[in-house]
Point group: C2
Amino acid sequence: MLSALDLATKIEAGELTPADTVELCIDAIKRREPEVHAFAALDLDRTRTHAHAAGAKLAALPLRGLPVGFKDIFDTADFPTSYGSSIYSGHRPPADASLVAMTRRAGGIVMGKTVSTEMAFLDPAGTRNPLNLAHTPGGSSSGSAAAVAAGMLPIAVGTQTGGSVIRPAAFCGVVGFKPSFRLLPMVGVKCFSWSLDTAGLFAASVSDVAFAAEAITTRDLRIDDQAVKPPVIGLMRTHFWPQASVDMQRAVEQAALAAETAGAKVHELTLPPLLEEAHAIHATLQNYEAARALAYEYDNQRDRLPRLLRALLDEAAGITAEAYDDARRISKRARHAFNELMADVDVLLTPSAPGAAPAGLGSTGEATFNRLWTLIGAPCVNVPGLADPSGLPLGVQIVGRFGRDRAALAASRFLERALADA
Amino acid sequence: MLSALDLATKIEAGELTPADTVELCIDAIKRREPEVHAFAALDLDRTRTHAHAAGAKLAALPLRGLPVGFKDIFDTADFPTSYGSSIYSGHRPPADASLVAMTRRAGGIVMGKTVSTEMAFLDPAGTRNPLNLAHTPGGSSSGSAAAVAAGMLPIAVGTQTGGSVIRPAAFCGVVGFKPSFRLLPMVGVKCFSWSLDTAGLFAASVSDVAFAAEAITTRDLRIDDQAVKPPVIGLMRTHFWPQASVDMQRAVEQAALAAETAGAKVHELTLPPLLEEAHAIHATLQNYEAARALAYEYDNQRDRLPRLLRALLDEAAGITAEAYDDARRISKRARHAFNELMADVDVLLTPSAPGAAPAGLGSTGEATFNRLWTLIGAPCVNVPGLADPSGLPLGVQIVGRFGRDRAALAASRFLERALADA
């Protein structure tokens, strides 16, 4: 994989140019893309020309001219944007999404659009897991996770409404960072659920993803340049622990042990009933909003929607305003309960997914271990480093307090090191 | 003005057809539009054909085929959508905004796009106040308020980030309803500030606006069909009361007296310090987000942005993440303080604007009396019925508890009657 921070450091030192990093990506794309299918749109010649023309200027900016890929639900003025759907095939938005514009402003080169499942829901797209082509890369940010895992991009951007950043990151063995709700603006991103949709970043390591997040947001988020204090970790099996594979259960326990060995304090925590309830109403919140967010497509192009999404919208039409309002109240109370839960720990440790990437491309996997944290709005990081007996990655998840994204990244970096040393 | 509820009742009874109501609008548009300039896009022939072809089907749906106008920051697939800006001149979105699709789903006919100031900010557009063409109609939902006031539409949709629904409604003498934050979806609406932008409705009377809100949202919001219990009203002068004109101060006191005479209880309330603080940080929240929401336009088309917006974005670049995070924390605490303030009253009564519509078209007026309630997310209604010595309307504002939109509408209906009877 390409380390964003390593590349940026070399560019800053004059040992590498933005054009060189673009060539590294192009080499990997030529090698891996024909089998991985991570990209929805690419223009290698234009990107190369741009990197040569603007390289010196970009090298002086925070992102140092690094190539970035955006999930194809982010509007881009210079790439087609189809939201993964034939309904929008060839659509060219008149403006960049906010996060795209902010990335360019920070000195990033938008290298291409990465494959999203249709409207970022569960119907699988054609991307394959670069670590084993017979397995799903996860979804809905399939292309972003796969492009980073295959070394085709140092940084990619995705979104999560249930588990669409953390899950594909776990399946592809890369770091996924879903920040606190609305840390990354959602303006110009195809909406599925306005209370839940959250942009996130993919990179090779925790330091890489934190570097990218700091450069794009101009917030103090880097954690590579200092000693990390051992965190207090709450081991959170959750009431759906039995849905995790034996390998995943072992991986989480192994991660807890490695963290403890490295000096962290680890407590067992149980999920309060209010958070169990919040987990259960995620679908009500998401689907009521999806029925409105996608009202135009449903009313005008229902037959062109994919099977799972169509079924969801058919069913969502029956959700009452009362049920939705109840769900909103529960999620508000759950945020308070979460703050109380986190009073004595810095972060939680919990599975990133039920197991390793399932075989086949017929499903993108389950968001069971993600959707509660998305609903709470808490920062989540997939930390890779463990694997199942076949060698496929088993990601574990660090969940931080709302707005404490830096602390969540620091704890993730601590765990990443602990796993490497174990 | 055209009463949405009267027209709908007549259509339901078979006394009128959707095509007839379209003709009423077309007549008024032919008479008034050349001097008022409320519309950014119209297609009278197509609308007429559609009303004839689909009339019978639409008459059976909740909105009964009534014509609706949308502020030109709402995406529409069948009308150009320029966000009031030359940057987007002729832009045709690939889909309807959620609220547009929901309006069509409810049986509304989208009659045209109404004039928005550029990107819904303060730089005035060309719309004139139908009650006195030498005065501003207010902004940024200038066209929506003016179109209803001139009898050209029974229902129009706008948005408010500071005071862009309540202020133009007050200046034009129509009812404006800014519901609780996110009661009306914002998907497909050009974003200025994602924490503040709120869609709202314009109509001739409180019953009309409540009818439209119920039909579009399928929530229980109508208040025309029942006796209204006299509300407990908090008279809220606020600490910026001296910025209200003497006429406006008298109007609010007159409204309080009329409500009391009609049986309401009226208490004087003062604004808690935390809400004063929240009023002060509205700009921080709004401008930090605007700098990101409009990043593409600022970075690529700065010279084509109008003067006030350009100046705002220039300045907004200096707002730190820390200042923004502080503003978010203050607004969260202010919401709790507001709930406590409202413990003993049903609604607040406060000015809708500093006075009547200012003379001239060089300014759309001030949002002083609106922006706090937008930030709180509380439902607000402009109640017309009073006037200054020159005959220009002086609107007073009812502010309800978050999520209690029906109670806010009921209290507004009560005040509307009390003013009519006084």
